[in-house]
């Protein structure tokens, strides 16, 4: 076991050094931050889809409270940092719109089908979960396809970009954000069952660590933690390699995206933290003396549903301007109002998805017990 753990530590160091040699110090730092995300999310079982599910099914609010704590700690540093250095740091602000709300609702439903959100899908794939790996392939394809139609969807109607800082200034905006998070936490506590209202030490530590990593992410990259952009870029790179011409596409021909497309993914900040996150999840999984078993067997059509749900996750996250990380975590913690609307719409969708899952994803044993062919 000691030899395996030593190899895992060496693997992490080699990865960071290789990225440093290829793409420079900032890229190496971002991969290291991504490793941290993966280690904490997988090692301490901090997630988004699972806590939202058990909040609905078991009235267990502990995971959701940990999320709110992490967002609050991040906001307490991120909003003042952005105010102090507006030329160097930007928040995760996006407009509230019809497609954004619909995308968040669909994302919330789909994430309950694959048991993973944006970060969760990467963690699941990195930790060897077969459902996560299949969903990730769909996620990459979906987030790329979403970029191709983003202009049409946003044209359905949206408000301008709105932040709490626009209405209340930096200090007031932070206060409103923290009050909003506290109000949601109060509702979660009131709705939770007795014994499922207080954060266990594991989740408290995880929330603090995730927040610290997200703050360092902002300071290093100049932008908050994000996931979906990198996955869409990977899809675009694969499409280009297969002969697709994206030069006429409105999204990929805009200067910022055209530049990302023409340069290595090792210069893209969200790709770097995504790669680190996947590897970090693998390290945390292998670090355990007894890694968890593989997922349960599913019927063939259920695997097709997982792939399709991954595709829907990616597509809807693109329309919604982010997943649970880019929109809620980074949006809310840097003051974007779209993060709050995303939260409400995705939670409603998640509640729907919880009811959909047992209908769409069935094991052969359950199907056989019900008399249908496996």
């Amino acid at each position: 076991m000691a030899a395996i753990r030593l190899s895992l530590a060496a693997f992490a160091v080699i990865l960071v050094l290789a990225v440093f040699a290829l793409a420079g110090p900032r890229a190496a730092l971002l991969v290291a931050i991504g490793l941290g995300y993966g280690l904490v999310l997988e090692g301490l079982r901090f997630g988004f889809a699972g806590p939202w599910r058990v909040m609905v099914t078991e009235r267990d609010g502990r995971g959701l409270l940990a999320q709110l704590l992490a967002i609050g700690i991040t906001a307490a540093a991120a909003i003042p940092l952005i105010a102090a250095a507006p030329q160097e740091l930007v928040g995760a602000a996006a407009p509230i719109g019809i497609a954004m709300i619909g995308g968040a609702f669909v994302f919330g439903a789909a994430m309950q089908l694959v048991m993973g959100c944006g970060s969760g899908t990467l963690v699941n794939a990195g930790s060897g979960n077969l459902v996560g790996a299949v969903a990730l392939a769909g996620f990459v394809a979906g987030s790329f396809l979403g970029t191709l139609h983003l202009g049409w969807w946003t044209g359905l109607g949206s408000l301008p970009v709105l932040t709490v800082q626009d209405f209340f200034g930096s200090t007031g905006g932070l206060a409103v954000t923290l009050l909003g998070l506290a109000a949601v936490a109060a509702v979660v506590v009131l709705r939770s069952a007795p014994g499922k209202r207080l954060l266990p030490r594991r989740l408290f530590v995880a929330a603090v660590l995730i927040a610290l990593l997200a703050i360092v992410n902002l300071a290093v990259a100049g932008q908050p933690w994000g996931i979906v952009y990198g996955l869409g870029l990977w899809g675009a790179k694969i499409a280009q390699a297969a002969g697709a011409d994206l030069s006429a596409n409105a999204f990929w021909s805009s200067p910022v995206h055209a530049e990302r497309l023409s340069q290595s993914i090792l210069t893209d900040y969200t790709s770097l933290t995504n790669i680190g996150l996947v590897v970090g999840a693998f390290l945390a999984m292998r670090w355990r003396a007894a890694p968890a078993a593989q997922v349960k067997r599913l019927r063939a059509e259920s695997w097709a549903v997982v792939l399709l749900a991954g595709l829907v996750l990616g597509y809807s996250a693109r329309l919604a301007f982010g997943c649970n990380i880019g929109a809620i975590f980074s949006g809310v913690s840097t003051g974007s109002l779209h993060g709050w609307v995303w939260f409400a719409a995705a939670f409603a969708g998640s509640t729907f998805g919880v009811r959909l899952r047992p209908i769409l994803l069935r094991s052969p044993q359950i199907a056989a017990a019900e008399g249908s062919p496996a």
């Binding site: 990195g126 060897g128 979960n129 983003l150 100049g222 932008q223 993914i265």
Partner: protein, 60 residues
């Protein structure tokens, strides 16, 4: 009968995922002509004086 797959184990699925990412990054590095180390941004954006240059999920 066990409901768990005996194959592929978690390690194999994880290593295959990481392998595909390495393949993607390597092929992309080749296709884009590599990275100019003298063009790399400062290690930390905060305090660098440079405008943010990355792309994010919230970009249109």
């Amino acid at each position: 009968m066990s409901q768990n797959y005996s194959f592929p184990p978690r390690s194999l699925v994880a290593l295959a995922t990481i392998g595909l990412l390495v393949l993607l990054a390597g092929a992309d590095l080749r296709a884009t002509g590599g990275i100019d180390p003298f063009d790399a941004p400062p290690p930390v954006a905060f305090g660098s004086g440079a405008a943010p240059s990355g792309a994010h999920c919230t970009d249109m």
